[in-house]
Symmetry: D2
Subunit: 370 residues, 4 copies
């Protein structure tokens, strides 16, 4: 693991997720920005091998016979590309947090290395791993809602309503800092999740967007709210709203898709349920592993219906899917059918989305291709 | 009553609403487009005085000692201005369905007459009369959510998902017909409700909007979906989504307002509840007439908490408010404090909103002042 | 109207309900316990004919050519039988609030008179008039849930959590007073509603019950909480919980029925929805007048789906059904098919239920036939 | 691990739970009823040490220097006591699934051994480990709802609506078999969970209960539905409903507590939320780790508010609490303050509850002390 030292939120999430299905064990790390902090965090976690920095780690692990199979990169955005490149170059699989990088230049550099590497690159757009998200995607693909018309997606939080970045929140500090986060604030942190989810489930990518980004907290250099209109190649249209200044919303990620035959609605805070309406019939409530559950959902479920799975389970499924892909790769086989995880292509699409939103907003919400 | 003959939806609603609080009795009407249909409908309703058309009615009622106090105009949009002008000219109060008229020209003409008339003009933007909407407005005005930042409003239906206008739905026929509805389809029918509600509760009117209107059903001349970005003078921003092609949504009108201190959320399909969050505290659920209910809500409630009031009750409150204003007017008094109803100004704002949406959409979602 | 003077809750409800569908006009009344109060209330309501007391009213109205068709009795329970008998004797139809009477003796006396009277007796168990309750009943009757096994019903309020009866609440005073309410507190006031609803929808009446009644507020002579077990003749079982001391519950009336093929769930605070599950299939959400709505629901709906109807609409439907029955009766015809309203038999069943609960509770929750 | 071979539901749950917080590693097992099946399952799981049966395992592991610290017993109920006794006798800590045993005789035997053993006994009443359940318990203890009056608890499922036990469901087979499950069907399987949860949160144990058990599916020897009335020493009363034949309910475990000052409501299918009402104030919605979250909830949370934790996380918390207790025990220290897990006493209380329900039901729902 690179990053994820004490106090980090997402590092702990990755560790639990990696462990949950018993596919990975954490054995080595360069957990923090200085050797001292790294070793202290490593000791606290009982880590076998602690390195001064990610370069040392990549070199050493690549040389070991029992070196790591894969590295999890859970640093702030500006520290994704560097480590990812080091490990990919040495054939070590990379599981990397989103967004892909802080800048498009880094993203392109990383992409070049990844393309030449024999190792896999997995991006943790974790929300795509919820069983009911998988079912929604399968239902859209199977034509259950007919021809797609509308994509309404929103990712709404409240935690940056005030200037937490000046009141001791480390999370808030780096996420509102262009040097560490890149050009996108809310649009990068959560907008990319919303965008990725919408594309994943709908099976479509917008051809144009118009964005109005705002920074409501005085002095905040990055957007904390984004209003985006979307247009898809096949004629569908959409709205994307990402906000971190909406009191009353902890982590509302809601996706609604409508076609000429039906509609689908899903919310991250209630992830075991999926509303489906066939136009002209009563609404139906599909549940994870419940009656009528589709195989795509059942495949990534762990417990029976009514026993809620949550955020960590979906995150763990990304790791489980990564494990399946890596095992197959190690055996020289193709990835088993159904195995699904976000890739470099998704990461690049996310970067183009951020760039397009920022550019559109600067031009007064002009239409731009992402 | 003008309009509201057999088969009409909104005419029946007005009749129940007028009756509910015992303030009005229906005694006269020109209920349909031909004298025959009008008289047949009048007979079915047991109406005392049935007229061939609205002009005859206006003339005759104005002459009677016991002539009507007020007329309800519940015709399709293109038939609002004509009757309204006739009655206003004769000093008869007008309670008119929304949107104000089919065209801006009609609206201006009507406005001129109304300004010179001694009679009142009440527009039935009924959703503003829900007790919890009243409370939300009062809470915003009292600073409970702080400085306004975000206005998210959506009015979403499913009933025009297919071309009902060619399959026998009279409602669908005129609402998708520019000659009878005007330039706006969904944006006129329900978008104006959403816009009016957002302005009413927030106490603010956008200074600019960017709209992307769509007509998803082939051959439909008016929009059935509208995506609109909003900008308010004080720096707040918003999104408005109006759709009649979203399967699974019967009549979802949802308003969410966020400021730097808190947030408010309300839904028309669950109208007796209002979510309020003071940033940093647990969410609170205010209920109509329940614990902590504000006087502005209690004032327009009829039954105790937990006994749901609905669509008709709010509609009836518009009539009750109109009655209070008319009684005061008759006594030469000022309207009692607190009495609140949508006026000609709201109607004109709605017309400007429709026009701006249509113009913006034609210019590829350019920003336009409504 | 008998009762319903100023300050009364249910009188106002009856007046709105009677008016809503335009079938009744309030023209006469003995509105309060003294002539002075009665006349003052009558004046405030603009009532044409105000009487000193119900006897005077019954005599006078029966003699008038334009005398009232029906009387609404909305007094406290101990004042139901007296007026009902007076009016029934004179052939005036009676619409009476529940429970039937304060004592079983009164109930029997009333029943005898009613049986001999040519006039109709309608009891306002208003919750049976909700469209989705009607649909639920029809679905059970049609075998949609199979053979009935479980009847879970609860009616839960919070308003008597503290001793409101000693702090100025007139409602609380008489409802906790055995002299005016009878032997049942919560069990009479709301338990009878729950019981009636359960029987109405299930189509079955329990053959035995075991009740544990409590009075949690010190010094309160009547129960404010009732826990009841039910057994039905066909082998079904159930639970009934009625409480007025459950903080957080305004007026939660919830009915859940399960059979060997499916289940149905309905809640009064969200009355436009009905959950239906066919065992082995995804849950379905039926809505009032929505897709898949049954004719029994559509028959008593006023507005389209998504436009919520509420408490007053259901109450008004009891009046509308009464009107249909009375009109038919006046024409010497049978009541139109489908017309449904609670009768004297329901009232007597409610009285037996109260008596059985009280008796069972005194015998430590022994099984007793209601 | 003892039990949990291929096809078992709860064994897999225990394995994930044990792994989630990195406190335990699965190294040894006697996973099934025959040596062949056991070894096959062990191989599938990649288990280091597989034993023919639990006795062999207990003996061997107790002798090893690197023997297991604790054993998880996840067999059907009739196979709890035997293994638990073997391991406890040898000083190996036991983490055992509920209910404690199949018979009271076994339970007493186990209790004697456990009392003499130096090892800990942890019962996996997992629902007590949900953060919001912990908060609810703390709020009750702190007097937030005042003096307790009402305890309404229900645990409702649908999976045994039909005779799944004769259609290939192994789960259904043993859970409806008295030889393997004991005297309680639904009352043992899920009723004990409901009972334990109610006692845990309320801080009280009933002094009497009256139970009406049913077996709705023909030929099923154990109850599949239980209706139970409860009486608590301090005067509080309650209802417990456990059912496995209620179509539409996957795993509804709902607890509602009311006192003279307020109320609390929690549902297992929406476990990150806790409704709290202070009588006379608007309802409040507490969320896991959200604004106003109590330290007792935060202590056992892993991720920020809005990122749902679920069934497995709560289960894992039982393991994490067990780990804390075992580590302290190993160091000869007292268990750290706040560490909370269900013990042998809870298991015995559960057995008494089952026995009392069965006895009461046989005596026509007579009151019996559990």
């Amino acid at each position: 693991m690179v990053g994820g030292g004490s106090g980090a939120f997402i590092g702990a999430v990755h560790r639990i997720a990696a462990r949950m299905d018993g596919e990975f064990q954490l054995v080595a790390g360069a957990l923090s920005s200085t050797p001292e902090k790294s070793h202290a965090s490593a000791q606290a976690l009982g880590l076998a091998r602690s390195y001064d920095d990610f370069s040392a780690m990549a070199r050493a692990e690549a040389r070991r016979k029992d070196g790591i199979e894969a590295v999890a990169i859970v640093t702030p955005n500006h520290m994704h590309a560097g480590p990812a490149i080091e490990f990919l170059k040495r054939g070590i699989h990379v599981i990397c947090d989103k967004p892909l990088t802080a800048t498009m230049a880094e993203a392109k550099k990383l992409a070049k290395v990844a393309e030449r590497s024999n190792a896999l690159f997995i991006l943790t757009h974790n929300y795509t791993a919820h069983p009911m998200v998988r079912q929604a995607r399968a239902m859209v693909a199977a034509g259950e809602i007919g021809r797609l018309r509308l994509v309404q997606v929103e990712y709404v939080q409240e935690w940056l309503t005030q200037d937490a970045e000046h009141h001791g929140s480390k999370q808030a500090e780096w996420r509102t800092d262009p040097a560490r986060s890149g050009a996108g604030g809310a649009i990068g942190d959560i907008g990319t999740h919303a965008y990725n989810l919408a594309c994943f489930v709908s099976g479509q990518t917008p051809e144009a967007l118009a964005a109005d980004l705002s920074s409501f907290v005085e002095g905040r250099p990055l957007d904390d709210n984004a209003h985006v209109l979307l247009r898809f190649p096949g004629g569908a249209k959409g709205m994307l709203w990402a906000s971190q200044v909406a009191p009353g919303n902890e982590n509302l990620l809601r996706l609604r898709l409508y076609g000429d035959k039906g509609g689908l609605e899903w919310e991250q805070e209630d992830p075991n349920r999926l509303w489906f309406t066939r136009f002209g019939e009563p609404r139906q409530l599909f549940t994870r592993n419940g009656a009528g559950s589709w195989p795509e959902a059942a495949r990534v479920s762990r417990v029976p219906p009514g026993h809620p799975e949550g955020y960590l389970e979906a995150f763990a499924t990304i790791y489980a899917e990564a494990a399946r892909a890596i095992r197959a790769h190690q055996r020289g086989e193709t990835v088993p059918e159904g195995t699904t995880y976000p890739t470099l292509a998704d990461g690049l699409a996310g970067m183009r989305f951020i760039a397009a939103c920022v550019a559109s907003s600067k031009r007064n919400a002009a239409w731009i291709a992402p």
